[in-house]
């Protein structure tokens, strides 16, 4: 019984040493290691204009122009080499307060709209898009094998230019809404 235990211990020890030798290879003057990395689709966005002020254009006359403002953002994207894609979307997650403009239930003809620009890594939205508080709307789309600018710390940029009709029905005051941008890539 004792001999069997000793033999088992020796065999276990030999197996352990053998496994370590396999894991680390043999001792020699040189050794090689293969570094392996799996690069997947990724995306990230940063809003560089934390607060976008919508202002009435000067010289446009009384109620002559909408309130407008530009939200700048930067993004990084890598979509899958084959069959990938992605998008940047925006959704109004907090509407203006009562008495002011409204995204959810705007007065007739008062819908807040926006236009977009984006770098060549994406296709910006086309035309004027009506902002929505109930669903995300398109800002830009990514094709398969899309890549933003090379270089650590580098990124691509885009803009959303907001337009809010200046309706006399709005009460005076300062109103705020929250626009949430989402980027995704597959």
């Amino acid at each position: 019984m004792k001999n069997r235990f000793i033999r088992s211990s020796i065999l276990a020890g030999v197996a352990l040493v053998a496994s370590q030798a396999y894991a680390f290879g043999q001792f020699a003057a040189t050794g090689t290691t293969t570094l392996s990395v799996a690069v997947a689709a990724e995306s990230a966005i940063s809003i560089t204009t934390a607060t976008t002020n919508l202002t009435e254009a000067t010289g446009a006359g009384i109620f002559g122009a909408p309130f407008t403002g530009t939200t700048n953002f930067s993004y990084k994207v890598r979509s899958t080499k084959v069959g990938g894609g992605g998008s940047i979307t925006v959704k109004i997650t907090s509407d203006f307060a009562a008495g002011g403009p409204s995204v959810t239930t705007p007065p007739t003809g008062d819908a807040m709209t926006y236009t977009c620009t984006a770098a060549s890594s994406a296709t910006a939205c086309t035309g004027s898009i009506t902002a929505s508080a109930s669903s995300a709307t398109n800002v830009a789309t990514f094709a398969t094998d899309a890549h933003s600018t090379a270089g650590t710390g580098s990124s691509d940029a885009g803009t959303v230019v907001w337009s809010l009709p200046n309706d006399p029905v709005y009460k005076t005051g300062t109103y705020t809404a929250t626009a949430t941008f989402t980027i995704s890539a597959t």
């Binding site: 570094l35 392996s36 990395v37 690069v39 689709a41």
Partner: protein, 182 residues
Amino acid sequence: MSGLREKHIGWAGAVWCLFMAAPAGVHAATATVTNTLNANIGAVGVLAAPGMATLSNTGTLFNAYNGTVALQYRARTSAAGGGTLTMQVTQDFQTGGPSVAGGDLTYSCGAASLGTACANTTASTSSATQVVKLPSSACTGGGSPCSGTDPNTVTLTFTLADQPVDKTGTFTATVQFTISAT
């Protein structure tokens, strides 16, 4: 005549006995023989590296990929010598992926159990870069004046930039470690 013959036989017997007794006296003496043992112990270094290391990151925010490689090594350096443990990327990542030649790969060392470990270093495909510098009169194992561990170890942490420009897929690079001692 007969008496003289017996006397001769008696003397011959005595001499023979004396002759036979002599070897016993010689055997009891101490014989000292010296032999010089000349061991030529030279400087030497050997290492063992794991066959594979995986670099990975978390999130989808272009965080750098990280991975560790634990090296084992044994070394003996002369009083006037020293040594180095170096690494060189002998095969860069495949086209479309990260680029060592482009400066995407850096590494740093944890504490080395023998010698001085590297600081943060950019990996190279064109030249060997230092991992551990071995001092003179260094030796592995057995305790002072040698190291207390056998084998000696050092852990490298690799950091690979996650560039948006890289294509998706799995990419590999080969790192060769070399140890030398004088």
